[in-house]
């Protein structure tokens, strides 16, 4: 469901909520963000390995027990900073952003962060892009106008989703904390 770049950041978000084992991390990820496309176990552990290598998470000692080795992963200060930066910065406004925006909103609510503010920031970024495209439309070239229209209508669809989501934040917060 999510782009390749978003999976590690989403996992960092889930780990900021609470330290977790790989198996539980996959289960939570699939429940919130991978309903259409569950995350393969291989990708979970490979991602955790890279996050640990880059100092964004630390793995505890292997815990004894039946079944596969169980390590508990904890987010580090570096990981938390990267997560905060990603959540607070608007995504580059472009068509088909909904998965990233969806993930940011759900994670923000999960972590008690200001989801409404993130949506405001994203709305402002979208409108800035729409203003630039509206300027393009002042060109006499009808092909440029049509291309700008395509971008404008897609950005407008995102904005309608942003507004609907902003109106539903309280209900959504209850849903993710259930």
């Amino acid at each position: 469901m999510l782009g390749v770049m978003s999976v590690p950041l989403t996992m960092l978000g889930l780990l900021e909520r609470e330290p977790s084992h790989g198996y539980k991390l996959k289960r939570d990820y699939d429940a919130y963000f991978g309903r259409d496309r569950p995350l393969p176990f291989g990708q979970v552990y490979a991602t955790l390995g890279r996050l640990a290598r880059d100092g964004k998470v630390v793995a505890g000692e292997a815990e004894p027990g039946a079944g596969p080795e169980r390590k508990r992963y904890v987010i580090t200060e570096t990981g938390a900073t990267e997560l905060e930066t990603w959540l607070a910065e608007p995504a580059e406004p472009e068509p088909h952003l909904q998965t990233v925006l969806f993930t940011k909103v759900v994670l923000a609510l999960m972590l008690g962060r200001p989801a409404e503010r993130y949506l405001d920031v994203q709305r402002a970024a979208h409108l800035a892009r729409m203003r630039a495209l509206t300027e393009v439309k002042r060109s006499d070239d009808l092909l440029d106008v049509l291309r700008a229209d395509y971008g404008l209508f897609h950005l407008e669809a995102d904005l309608r989703w942003i507004d609907m989501t902003a109106a539903r934040l309280s209900a959504l917060a209850r849903e993710v904390h259930r």
Partner: protein, 237 residues
Amino acid sequence: MTASLPDAQAHSFIDASDVVKSFGQTPALRGASVTVARGEILAVMGPSGSGKSTLLHCLAGIFTPDDGEISFDGRRLDTLCESDRTKLRRTAFGFVFQFGQLVPELTAADNVALPLLLNRVKRKSAYESAATWLDRLQLHGLGGRRTGELSGGQAQRVAIARALVMGPRVLFADEPTGSLDSLTGETVMDLMVGLARQEGTTVVIVTHEARVAACADREIVVRDGKVFDPRAAGVGR
């Protein structure tokens, strides 16, 4: 456009600070603040019932706030007496509403000439100005039609001509394209914004449509009676 504008904080043309307005027990504005620079085109966005139209009515001196201050060009608006506010609205402000609100018994030319006639401009001169403004709104030859004989887009352009004919310093528009299809709405917005820029008119547009807001220099969002200003928050530039 925005980059060339003066710093709005230092040279605000319209300045509303902590405006509170309730209707009975229902609060509409709960401490709304906004500044608009001279010549700036500002879009006011927000969900239905958020208070955005109430804010526009307060900025335009139609409503008096219960608390807070509003000034226009350095002069307190909220403390003016009713007759002074009426005079200011008639001479310095122009208005465009969602459904035009033209006088149906009159022709397009009559409607546009009306503000001038009410301000004692001579009839011949008033109708010459009306004809000029109808031409600028691409309504040449339609001055003799009654409003029922005009399309929605044409009627709205007549309403814009009527709003601009007095040379207002501020144009207030409340959902000016809300009743129009996309292409007609775009034409109306292009004309309204283009003419306002030519005339140096400051514009405040209430809209829930992002494409309309994108025609403005910047936007604010009203929610639960308060204003979120992306510029003040340092985003969206």
